[in-house]
Amino acid sequence: MDTKAKEIYGEITGRKYALIVLFVAVCVLALIIDIFVGPAWLSIQEVFSAVFLANASDPITHVIVWTIRLPTALMAIAVGAALGIAGAEMQTILDNPLASPYTLGVSAAAGFGAALAIVLGVGIVPYAGEYLVSINAFFFSLLTCLLIYFIGKARRVTAETMVLAGIALLFLFNSLLALLQYIASEEALQAIVFWLFGSLLRTTWPKLAVVAAVLITVVPLIAKDAWKLTALKLGDEKAKSLGIDVEKLRLKVFIWVSLLTAAAVCFVGTIGFIGLVGPHIARMIVGEDQRFFLPMSALGGAILLSAASIGSKVIIPGAIFPIGIVTSLIGVPFFFSLILTKRRGYW
């Protein structure tokens, strides 16, 4: 028995566990700040009593916290985590550092679906009411994923085929969206543009529940294949030689990722940057062992979107900026600093 093995392995994983704990703390901190900040600044006391002491608080504060701040702040975390994971697994199964819900046309399809509902009032499900736009967006992003899936399945499922199919669909849906914008009325056009910016303001508890439910269902299913997905990073040949059914794994995980993406994008609009950058941050910090890469990508996405949510409320006091705009403004400088400080060879 050699204790050195345990010691070295403990050093490798211990550092990663510590970083994950640190990021969980940052995530919680961002969540708390996100609840405080807004057009009406609340004190710690007010928020605390509104959240934990239902009867003792001021009714207006209570309403602000419970119907706006809490669901919105939690939605930022949930959507950020979902997009982070979706991007991480897309990059893994497609072996491509540029893969993300945005680059593969999934977000564009959601945008088209939403626009279809806004401009023509055409829904996939009748009598959907206020959910018409979201259901359409969900349906079209899922449709895109399935198209990519079947193209991948029909040909031999190489990563390149799926990436190319995704990029082709991105252009297709962008054209269709442009067509709708061209024929739309002024009000509808404005609504589309606003939807495309991405916004957390439409969040309600039921919507949050849907995203959370998808997250809670899908994440364990991906985590179950953590070692296989790690092995996939060594390339198809190596993964196959380790006894992994690469095609099956790729298609299975793609379905889980599609669900995550569709659920995240359909309620908040196209927030493109998170799914690309969350995983890259995770990769640079903990590497690609999926046991750490997966939670870290979720945390990276969640913190970025939460920070963007805070940013969207403080840039112009009293107003709330569309979060999709702020995400890139906050994320890109941070991302650049990581790229410039890390050694080459991470993608």
Binding site: K4, I8, T230, L234, L242, D289
Partner: protein, 261 residues
């Protein structure tokens, strides 16, 4: 574990690569496949490792390989492919552990850690354990993937050009280690090698592949003759038998002329 190959045929896109292969691997012995580029050496290994599905039969201890469960095959047969990924951001320890993927759970057991650590030490690369793969040199990466192949404790070991990217000392050390393990654990080992003198020194049996067929096989002294080298490689060579009884090939000239006109 004895491995027999009977009437094995395989082609990519209906272009035949392996036409009719018959051979046998015995436990505790190293068989080296030699032959010019693109004669199907790697493809033969890929067929046995079930990366591709050939026609004909492959028998493990007399039992058709298709009748084994997939996970049993991967437990019994370990295959080192020629290409190594350069970009994966994984530590050496994690990569070697992946060789044990069938028994890994979220929390890695001490037994698995020890098996991986022992191999790293046997190969003298334990100092690299916590380094990331993308920070290593080509030769170091090659060592890591050989470790991944060995950590599986296979009964059949298939190594495609294991000495690729390795310097002279490491080539000899790795082949020494593979020979020791092959004998000690009674592994049936099949390796492809370009270097004829290494093949002669380490293989118990040589199989010469040409045009998708076995053109000759046997012990190194009988196979490595100037006539065979000339007909298979198109190279004039001198073959001396050294003091240790091992043939030494010295290439002299190509049969075909490639000079500027």
């Amino acid at each position: 574990m004895r491995l027999e190959i009977k009437n094995l045929k395989f082609g990519y896109n209906s272009k035949p690569v392996l036409k009719n292969i018959n051979m046998e691997l015995s436990p505790g012995k190293i068989t080296a496949v030699i032959g010019p580029n693109a004669v199907g050496k790697s493809t033969l290994l890929r067929c046995i490792a079930r990366i591709v599905k050939p026609e004909g039969s492959i028998l493990l201890d007399g039992k058709e390989i298709n009748n084994f469960k997939k996970e049993d095959i991967t437990r019994l047969v370990s295959y080192l492919s020629q290409e190594n990924p350069a970009r994966a951001v994984l530590s050496v320890f994690e990569v070697v552990l992946l060789g044990r993927i069938h028994s890994l759970s979220w929390k890695v057991s001490d037994d698995e850690l020890n098996v991986a650590w022992e191999i790293l030490k046997d190969m003298g690369i334990h100092e690299l354990a916590s380094r990331y793969l993308n920070e290593l040199s080509g030769g170091q990466r090659q060592m890591v993937f050989i470790a991944q192949a060995l950590v599986r404790e296979p009964n059949v070991l298939l190594l495609d050009e294991p000495t690729n990217n390795l310097d002279l000392q490491h080539q000899l050390e790795i082949l020494d280690l593979i020979r020791d393990l092959t004998r000690k654990r009674r592994i049936s080992t099949l390796i492809t090698l370009h270097h004829l003198n290494l093949a002669a020194r380490y293989a118990d049996k040589l199989v010469v592949l040409n045009n998708g067929e076995v053109c000759t096989s046997g012990n190194p002294e009988s196979v490595l003759t100037p006539e065979t080298i000339r007909s298979v490689y198109g190279v004039n060579a001198r073959v001396n038998i050294g003091d240790d009884g091992i043939p030494q090939v010295t290439p002299i000239s190509s049969v075909r002329s490639m000079r500027l006109a």
